[in-house]
């Protein structure tokens, strides 16, 4: 009972923090974009900037002639209603622009993370304690997976599996088969990072005295690794995995370009290059929200897995 209450209180505190974080992100983006060189009119009007009267018209239609604080308040109120305004460049509602691109990116990111996690777990479990030779080879492979530039790996996969063998389409976002190559490209560096980390965690955990106890009960090696080891390794690995979100976003921008996929990555890239403030704000807020949701979920998962953490939350 009490531990459930504690959990609720933890979540509430977490959500309050999330609101604060989102507000800070919104404010920083707002101020930052206003401080950037190149006025909003110039972005909207482009070559027509010098036409007399037009600039005035744009300013008043966007409400830029009002005091700064009023604009800021309006902007926040808009965000609260889910209204991100209109794109300066695309002449469309930001919600529509971003909404259409959100799903493909989410799908790509989720698929990549799942693939990376599964790959890392498989490699780590099979190779933990396999001897120094195997470990050294794997270590080099993992370093390669982390270090090789994403656009290069992507192009290589296109060349081999798409142009040459014609297994998968090289571009587009049409069904699962077009997801495979981007997913692999994005998953490789994350898998390399996670499997390195997991293997070390597994080796460390295997040295714990309770492992001897489990083995002394006659439990099989499979049971030891899947039932006992898994949660131990999951707790610390999840935290690391949560921190690869940045890697994921950076990777998504590149992967979506290489494979010609629609998605948030490309929208973000375009919006920043074109100084399209409303779209940039929306993307930043989406990424922040994702970050908050993921870290909260991971912390909750850790609380559920590890009773010792629940105890600490009590005291």
């Amino acid at each position: 009972m009490t531990s459930g209450l504690q959990l609720l209180r933890g979540v509430a505190r977490r959500l309050a923090g999330a609101v604060l974080l989102l507000w800070a992100a919104a404010t920083l983006t707002f101020v930052g974009l206003r401080a950037l060189p190149g006025s909003v009119e110039s972005v909207v009007l482009g070559v027509h900037l010098n036409d007399p009267g037009l600039a005035e018209q744009v300013r008043s239609s966007l409400g830029l002639d009002r005091p700064f604080l009023v604009q800021y308040g309006d902007y926040l109120l808009g965000l609260l209603r889910g209204d991100f305004g209109r794109s300066y460049v695309l002449n469309a509602d930001v919600t529509d622009v971003v909404g259409a691109q959100l799903l493909p990116t989410l799908g790509l990111a989720a698929a990549s993370v799942v693939l990376a996690g599964a790959l890392a777990w498989l490699i780590a479990v099979l190779s933990a304690g396999a001897g120094p030779g195997t470990e050294r080879v794997l270590h080099v492979l993992e370093l390669l997976a982390i270090c090789l530039p994403t656009f290069w790996v992507g192009s290589l996969l296109q060349l081999g599996l798409s142009f040459h063998l014609q297994w998968f389409p090289s571009v587009g976002a049409d069904g699962f088969s077009s997801l495979v190559l981007p997913m692999i490209t994005l998953a490789l560096p994350i898998a390399g990072l996670l499997s390195q980390y997991m293997r070390e965690e597994i080796a460390l955990t295997l040295r714990q005295p309770w492992v001897l106890t489990v083995r002394s009960r006659g439990a099989s090696g499979f049971r030891l690794r899947s039932v006992h080891l898994m949660p131990h390794v999951a707790i610390s690995t999840l935290t690391v995995a949560g921190n690869t979100l940045g890697l994921l976003i950076g990777g998504a921008v590149i992967v979506e370009s290489v494979f010609g996929r629609p998605g948030l990555g490309r929208v973000a890239l375009d919006a920043v290059t074109d100084s399209d403030a409303p779209v940039t704000v929306a993307v930043v807020l989406i990424i922040t929200t994702a970050y908050v949701l993921i870290t909260t979920a991971i912390d909750l998962a850790a609380l559920i897995i590890d009773p010792r953490l629940r105890q600490e939350a009590h005291g």
Binding site: T213, S216, G218, H228, P307
Partner: protein, 520 residues
């Protein structure tokens, strides 16, 4: 009588070039307890694990006979070994806090053992409760959902024993099963093992503590460096040890009613001055009272022993004396002047007068520093090699150790270096925090002798904190018994030990192994 559960002849275990065990023979019968006794590195745990086929992968094992339950096990594969683990023999390790999976409740851990022993999903829950009840785990219906970290040391050790018994084994291998426990709890766990033995279980007990195993074991094998030094019934080993090493072991056991040669202390100055005085100390952590109205007076050249079990407030008291923690009320005086009430800045000059000897020196040294660097920092002024060598000499450590780092030292050497570091500041007071608790009994005796010599030669005063009653008895002039932050009894060592007044002190003394109470 029935055939032995385990019969091993000429067991040898090698790790590469290093021989960990050589030509050890043993057999354990149902309803008997065989104990392997030796210091760390004697090979006792290696042997115990070999009986379950749980040795290190790198180990090479050979023997002329290896009968497990009457079957030749010499060629067994992992698969064969798994069949006897749990069902034929269970294993109990030192501390259940780390020997039970910390992410799983007691119920799930014991259930796993019961299921691995062949119980069906349906009959398992009832069997788990029965086992827990049998080992004295209170209210198992409600409390078995708890995790190891939520239980006291004694309770989780009982849970661990229940899980080892889950597969209804006929043999129990217990590797230092009571070492991490307080003395009265240790007693209870040993009694539990003795009861299981009387019910017909065979027990292979591994321990560094000859005194603790003496009253449960039927047969004791003394090991050193992987070889059998001597063996026989415990009473014979304790009273007439044949081998010089066994004799040394027996003599090193700290005794309650026998004190080693003590240098005359109080005679030289009839009324020694008070060096350190703590007055009605009270420390409160939120709702928990860690110390309540605790007073302590330390006179020059004397030792005050502080006895208490874990959670009694010993460590808090030490921190207050060291003035690294402020008491809520009461104060500490050093040389009759304010100490705990001063701001840290004013204290800093006099900090050198109180030094600490920690339980685990390894973690109190910077692992990258050599012994010479450690001592140079502690010595006053610009100390050269000569001064460092002198400091080592005072604690009987060879000078060539100066260039080594803490990890390259033996446990005893480390503790000596820690003492040398404390002495380097030329303190008036040494606070010894479980200073010998982590050491093997022989090394422990040497370090105690060293501390005694230092006290006599330099007139240093000591506060000696320990959970080990016999050790405290050996070194102390006065003794304070702490329980839950209260002083339940205090007085001269003779009074407290020979004529204990408080029921708690009496129960502590009664729970000591009988071997300690006997004269030497």
């Amino acid at each position: 009588m029935n055939a032995p559960l385990v019969e091993i002849h000429d067991l040898s275990i090698r790790f590469g070039e290093h021989t960990a065990v050589s030509n050890v023979s043993l057999s354990v019968r149902a309803g008997t307890c065989v104990a392997l006794v030796g210091e760390s590195g004697s090979g006792k745990s290696t042997i115990a694990r070999a009986v379950l086929g749980l040795g290190d992968q790198a180990a090479r094992t050979s023997s002329t006979t290896m009968l497990i339950d009457g079957v030749d096990a010499s060629g067994w594969t992992e698969r064969d070994w798994r069949r006897v683990r749990g069902r034929f023999a269970g294993l109990v390790l030192q501390d259940a806090l780390v020997s039970l999976d910390p992410l799983r409740s007691v119920r799930r851990e014991v259930t796993e053992a019961v299921r691995a022993g062949g119980a069906s999903r349906k009959e398992a829950p009832e069997k788990v409760l029965g086992l827990l009840r049998d080992v004295g785990f209170p209210d198992p219906e409600k409390r078995s959902g708890q995790f190891a970290h939520q239980l006291s040391g004694g309770l989780r050790q009982r849970a661990l024993i229940a899980s080892a018994l889950g597969g209804s084994p006929r043999l129990l291998i217990a590797d230092e099963p009571t070492t991490a426990l307080d003395v009265s709890v240790q007693r209870q766990v040993l009694d539990l093992l003795a009861r299981k033995r009387d019910e017909g279980l065979g027990i292979l007990l591994v321990s560094h503590d000859l005194a603790a195993v003496a009253d449960i074991a039927d047969h004791v094998i003394v090991l050193r460096g992987g070889k059998v030094i001597e063996q026989g019934p415990p009473s014979a080993l304790l009273h007439s040890p044949g081998h010089p090493y066994t004799r040394e072991l027996v003599q090193a056991i700290p005794r309650l009613h026998h004190r080693p040669d003590r240098t005359e202390r109080t005679a030289e100055s009839p009324a020694p001055e008070v060096v350190l005085h703590a007055e009605s100390i009270r420390v409160q952590y939120r709702t928990l009272t860690a110390l309540d109205d605790v007073s302590l007076t330390l006179k020059r050249g004397q030792t005050v022993g502080v006895v208490g079990q874990s959670g009694s407030g010993k460590s808090t008291l030490l921190r207050v004396l060291l003035a690294t923690q402020q008491p809520q009320s009461g104060q500490v005086l050093l040389d009759g002047q304010p100490w705990s009430d001063l701001p840290e800045k004013a204290r800093r000059q006099r900090r050198r007068r109180i030094q600490v000897v920690p339980q685990d020196p390894l973690s109190s040294f910077d692992p990258r520093w050599t012994v010479r660097q450690i001592l140079t920092e502690a010595l006053p002024g610009k100390a050269g090699r000569a001064e460092c060598a002198q400091a080592l000499e005072a604690v009987a450590v060879p000078v060539d150790v100066l260039q080594r780092r803490p990890l390259e030292l033996s446990g005893g050497q480390r503790q000596r270096v820690a003492i040398a570091r404390a002495l380097a500041a030329e303190p008036e007071v040494l606070l010894c925090d479980e200073a010998v608790s982590a050491l093997d009994v022989l090394v422990q005796a040497q370090i105690l002798a060293l501390l005694e010599r230092i006290r006599a030669e330099r007139g240093i005063s000591m506060v000696f904190v320990s959970h080990d009653l016999a050790v405290v008895r050996q070194v102390s002039d006065e003794v304070i018994v702490l329980k839950d932050g209260h002083v339940v009894e205090s007085g001269t060592a003779d009074d407290v030990y020979e004529r204990p007044q408080h029921a708690y002190t009496k129960s502590l003394l009664a729970s000591l192994p009988p071997a300690l109470s006997e004269g030497a």
